[in-house]
């Protein structure tokens, strides 16, 4: 169980990490990087799976199902488009 203060520390450190990781990114990679970070929050599918797994009533099941569906689309779609874009970036020295 992650307690209150520990969670705060995690939030703070993760926020600084996110800021630092992106800070020096060149403009040429803005679009793929946005797509990449969009993929990373696709981890939400894991949470949606847990929510659906613990759903009891029909309402909860329906909402949980939608959650997993949307989360899976976020993760898979985010991955596919990011990979497609990054795949194309080549230096003239490689050719």
């Amino acid at each position: 169980m992650i307690e209150g203060m520990t969670a705060l520390y995690i939030f703070m450190l993760a926020a600084f990490t996110g800021y630092e990781v992106i800070a020096r990114v060149p403009v040429i990679l803005h679009t793929p990087l946005m797509s990449g970070s969009n993929f990373v929050h696709g981890i939400v599918v894991v949470g949606a799976m847990v929510a659906l797994g613990n759903a009891e009533t029909a309402t909860e099941q329906v909402i949980g199902f939608i959650g997993v569906l949307l989360g899976a689309m976020n993760a898979v779609g985010g991955y596919v488009v990011t990979e497609r874009m990054l795949e194309m970036f080549k230096s003239s020295k490689e050719n």
Binding site: G42, A48, A51, A55, N74
Partner: protein, 453 residues
């Protein structure tokens, strides 16, 4: 088992951060997405073994449908449509975060007061990101052309937001029942739509980036509700990174975020200055000769080039000129294309190596030494009015100093104005020649002209 699950989530979080780090340099970028992908697969797989869960059938069906739909659409989408696709997938993530909140709130078994508050806040952010992203998608996709404006709009939106927040506080501080929870989500959905409707197409990338950060935050908050460290870390990292990326984009467009969200483009400012001079056309043969005998040519592509699908031809032209000993460079404005960095993706698709592509700060001092600047499909980002006409709506926006080149050739379909509806002084300059026609066709003619020499 719990230990294995915890360790897997930990490794996944580490892989996400390392992956994002690698994605911020072109050399390592492809590896970055693979690392992050591996982390995602591991985290998804291990979640099936979380103890005490049911509904595995539903879970697998939902994952299968979602994955197949997203995989097929992601593989098929054209590179020009990438920004709205990112918006769409991002909206899905926001919706998923909101769904988690909805299940947990309806169930009413959230473990602590802090968790309920975070569940409610995450629900608002996730829902707004969901419906807002869908509007952003529809606008960029061209399904929704007009921006909606009505009197008292901001006040109305503000009150709507207030009511939504009020319901949220009610939910967080008591046990109001399913009806209130549903109204809360419906209002948040409507707010997301109304907040995004007035924003114009040109500002949309900044908004998409903002919603990306929103979804990240929502995921982080719901991660706390579910006591899932991987979600907390991944969500918060994206929330922070997305916020920074949003600021970088807004800065590149010279549009403070508050203006993007609350001000209509071009609403301020007086009459733009009259543009003197005349438009001077040129034939493709002459333009080709001009470039073939130049020492240095700088190509300035805009979204119009991508719409005409001329990027492959332009790269062919650049290679031909290179073989003749001409130095060819590509100059990209930060907001060329639909989104910062979008044009780089489009050029990369055509095979242009990224080390021939220069951004605004690198290339601007070089225009003075360029014999020819070839502008194709770009308009506002090369308009000198941004530098010297304080009344112009685009005044203050950083531009490419194309007008300082010895000769400027502009490939343009017709005599119309740019995306912002502003007349372009560059086209009337003494050193500018207009090459009228379809981008792809004109590029082919230029290639022909150079080849025939």
């Amino acid at each position: 088992m719990q230990l294995v699950i915890d360790v897997t989530y930990f490794v996944a979080a580490a892989l996400f951060i390392l992956g994002l780090k690698r994605m911020s340099s072109p050399k390592t970028a492809v590896g970055g997405i693979l690392w992050a992908g591996a982390g995602m697969l591991a985290a998804g797989f291990i979640t099936f073994f979380v103890p005490g869960m049911e509904n595995y059938g539903l879970m697998i069906i939902a994952i299968a449908i979602g994955s197949v739909v997203a995989w097929v659409s992601g593989k098929r989408v054209a590179m020009t449509d990438m920004p709205q696709m990112i918006a769409l997938y991002n909206g899905m993530g926001g919706g998923a975060a909101a769904a988690i909140a909805a299940v947990e709130l309806i169930k009413g078994e959230v473990h602590s007061a802090a968790a309920i508050w975070l569940a409610v806040i995450g629900a608002v952010i996730g829902t707004v990101s969901f419906s807002g992203s869908l509007v952003a998608f529809s606008k960029l996709q061209g399904w929704m052309r007009k921006s909606l404006h009505f009197a008292g709009q901001q006040l109305f939106n503000l009150s709507l937001f207030g009511v939504t927040l009020g319901l949220g506080i009610w939910i967080a501080s008591g046990d109001p029942g399913t009806g209130v929870i549903i109204s809360f989500f419906v209002l948040a959905l409507i707010f997301g739509v109304l907040m995004t409707l007035p924003i114009g197409g040109a500002d949309m990338p900044v908004v998409i980036s903002l919603y990306n950060a929103f979804t990240g935050l929502a995921v982080g908050f719901e991660g706390y509700v579910l006591n899932n460290a991987a979600m907390i870390i991944a969500g918060t990292v994206v929330g922070a990174a997305g916020t920074l990326l949003t600021q970088l984009m807004a800065k590149a467009m010279n549009r403070p975020l508050s203006n993007v969200l609350f001000k209509k483009f071009g609403a301020a400012g007086g009459e733009a200055a009259e543009v003197g001079g005349s438009l001077k056309p040129i034939e493709a043969d002459d333009a080709g000769i001009m470039m073939a005998f130049a020492d240095k040519v700088i190509i300035v592509p805009g979204y119009g080039m991508a719409v005409a699908q001329a990027q492959h031809k332009i790269w062919e032209l650049a290679k031909l000129l290179g073989e003749r000993g001409v130095t060819v460079k590509f100059a990209i404005h930060p907001v060329a294309g639909r989104m910062p960095g979008h044009m780089n993706v489009l050029l990369a698709e055509a095979g242009v190596p990224y080390d021939l592509i220069y951004d605004l700060d690198e290339i601007n001092p070089e225009f003075e030494t360029a014999d020819v600047a070839l502008v194709i499909g770009a308009n506002d980002v090369v308009n000198p009015a941004a530098r010297n006409d304080p009344n112009s709506p685009i005044y203050g926006m950083p531009i490419l100093d194309v007008d300082k080149a010895k000769n400027v050739i502009v490939i343009k379909r017709g005599t119309g104005k740019g995306f912002s509806g502003v007349e372009n002084q560059l086209f009337f300059a003494d050193n500018t020649r207009m090459l009228y026609g379809d981008g792809q066709e004109m590029a082919a003619k230029l290639i022909q002209a150079v080849k025939e020499l």
